[in-house]
């Protein structure tokens, strides 16, 4: 009995470690765990893992790739039955990106998000560009301008640094 429990714990530890290594297809410098997309990993039977993931945006086209990558990576570690489930509630927030994840984004030249706006009460209309303090990932200047609220993937906005003149991406808080 004790031995079985120990084995189960080892198996669960391994599944969690392996799942936590899988990277995001569109932000490959981030693991799904650091992105906050990996919600739960559970071993429910012999070599049988259930993984919960949540989409960043509703239309996120990377969900199928994430699923395939999880199945493949866990499969390579010996788990031959991997179920990947979608969790919609609570909705993903950039607040779930871990400190390591934020550091990895910055190191890759992508400015990490600030705190997510709260959606309590009616949502205010914002007619001027959102004022955020975004630091240039190249030169650390805060003299940065928003170019567009929408970038190459749903989660990013495009900025420009007026000190070093480099354009860069920013993961916008949601």
């Amino acid at each position: 009995m004790v031995r079985t429990m120990k084995v189960a714990t080892r198996s669960l530890d391994l599944a969690r470690r392996v799942a936590a290594r899988v990277t995001d297809p569109e932000l490959p410098m981030l693991t799904l765990a650091d992105l906050g997309v990996l919600r739960e990993v559970d071993v429910v039977g012999e070599r049988h893992v259930v993984v919960d993931i949540t989409p960043t945006y509703t239309g996120c086209p990377a969900m199928a790739t994430m699923r395939d990558d999880l199945v493949r990576t866990l499969g390579e570690a010996g788990f031959d039955r991997v179920e990947v489930r979608v969790v919609l509630d609570p909705p993903w927030s950039t607040d779930w990106i871990t400190p390591q994840g934020r550091a990895a984004l910055a190191a890759a030249g992508i400015a990490p998000p600030g705190p997510a706006p709260s959606h309590a009460g009616p949502i205010p209309l914002t007619l001027s560009p959102t004022a955020r303090l975004v630091r240039c990932p190249c030169c650390d200047s805060t003299r940065t301008d928003l170019v567009s609220e929408f970038g190459a993937t749903a989660c990013k906005a495009i900025y420009r640094c007026t000190s070093c003149l480099e354009p860069f991406e920013h993961v916008k808080a949601i």
Partner: protein, 314 residues
């Protein structure tokens, strides 16, 4: 008993850190070969006292609104005034497509009889059957979303009116008794906020820009305005869903949306147009499957590949 972890491989021993194994191999980019369920693992049980047919029809109507507008906005790909707006519009279209996919999947799960029947062995999932195998008269979208844009100003005006409306409704839909609709709304609210602000800023920019940009914006507003009242009608589909606690009757939340719109109009120094709403035809509007000719033409293009290959193989 045998130790089940014995032949599990600890990949950590092969790489120093999670980021060390980033070399791209073929399987990393290999998509699954089969279609997948966007609601896999989500509890789609319909609450006991909720009429599944009412829920299904309501989810389908909301899904159709997003599907048709997404398709129209995506027509701007490579044609927007500049690269940033090309990307912005593609993002808005993608968000709406994601909403459509979940809502149509939810509709088909609640009431499987909604999805068209495809040939035996077809791998097409129910949400795709709904999107690609229904004719115009079977779609329940509001008529605002279906016309083709003549001008970038049309896209701006339409996204503004649509997102002001949908955001107002969805801020209440988060309390739906249907857990799936509530979750889709909670996520959608964040996305729609970006869409509304994007369109509102462009609305003001065009209005206060040059004589040319203002003229074109006002013309676009006149074209879209007759379709605004239909968004707020107490249609039986929305009313029934509201009575069951799964949906929102838009006629009950119109006032606060009009206030939002008034603020945009006031900032842009644009007066509310004085043109009447587009009439119902024999009492029927978009939610009844009554559409303009533009929708049939759009669907003919959007659905052609899927209809030519209903078995999903070519």
């Amino acid at each position: 008993m045998t130790d089940p972890t014995i032949d599990l491989h600890d990949v950590d021993s092969e790489h120093d850190s999670a980021y060390a194994g980033l070399q791209v191999n073929d399987s990393h980019w290999a998509f699954g070969t089969s279609f997948e369920d966007p609601l896999a693992g989500v509890d789609t049980t319909v609450p006991d006292d909720v009429d599944a047919a009412v829920l299904g029809r309501y989810a389908m109507a909301l899904g159709d609104d997003a599907l048709v507008l997404s398709q129209r906005i995506s027509e701007w790909c490579s044609r927007a005034p500049d690269l940033e707006d090309d990307i912005a519009l593609a993002n808005v279209a993608l968000d709406l497509l994601g909403q459509a996919r979940l809502l149509l999947a939810r509709a088909a799960k609640a009431d499987p009889s909604l999805a068209p029947v495809l040939p035996e062995g077809s791998p097409v999932p129910p949400e795709d059957a709904l999107a690609y195998f229904r004719d115009a008269h079977e779609l329940l979208n509001v008529r605002l979303v279906e016309a083709a844009d003549e001008d970038f100003a049309d896209a701006v005006v339409r996204i503004l009116l649509f997102s002001v409306w949908r955001l107002e409704v969805w801020q209440r839909l988060v309390a739906s008794r249907d857990a799936v609709l509530a979750a889709v709304a909670a996520k959608g609210v964040k996305e729609l906020t970006y869409h509304r602000d994007y369109a509102a800023r462009w609305f003001v920019t065009l209005a206060l820009g040059t004589t040319e940009s203002r003229g074109r914006l006002e013309a676009a507003l006149l074209r879209a305005w007759p379709l605004w009242p239909e968004l707020w009608a107490a249609h039986p589909i929305d009313v029934a869903a509201s009575r069951q606690g799964v949906g929102v009757d838009p006629s009950t939340v119109r006032e606060s949306a009009e206030e939002v719109l008034d603020r945009v109009l006031a900032t842009a120094e644009v007066a509310r147009p004085e043109v009447p709403g587009l009439a119902a035809v024999a009492g029927r509007t978009g939610r009844d499957g009554l559409h303009t000719e533009a929708l049939s033409r759009m669907l003919a293009e959007m659905q052609s590949v899927a209809r030519a290959h209903p078995e999903g193989a070519w």
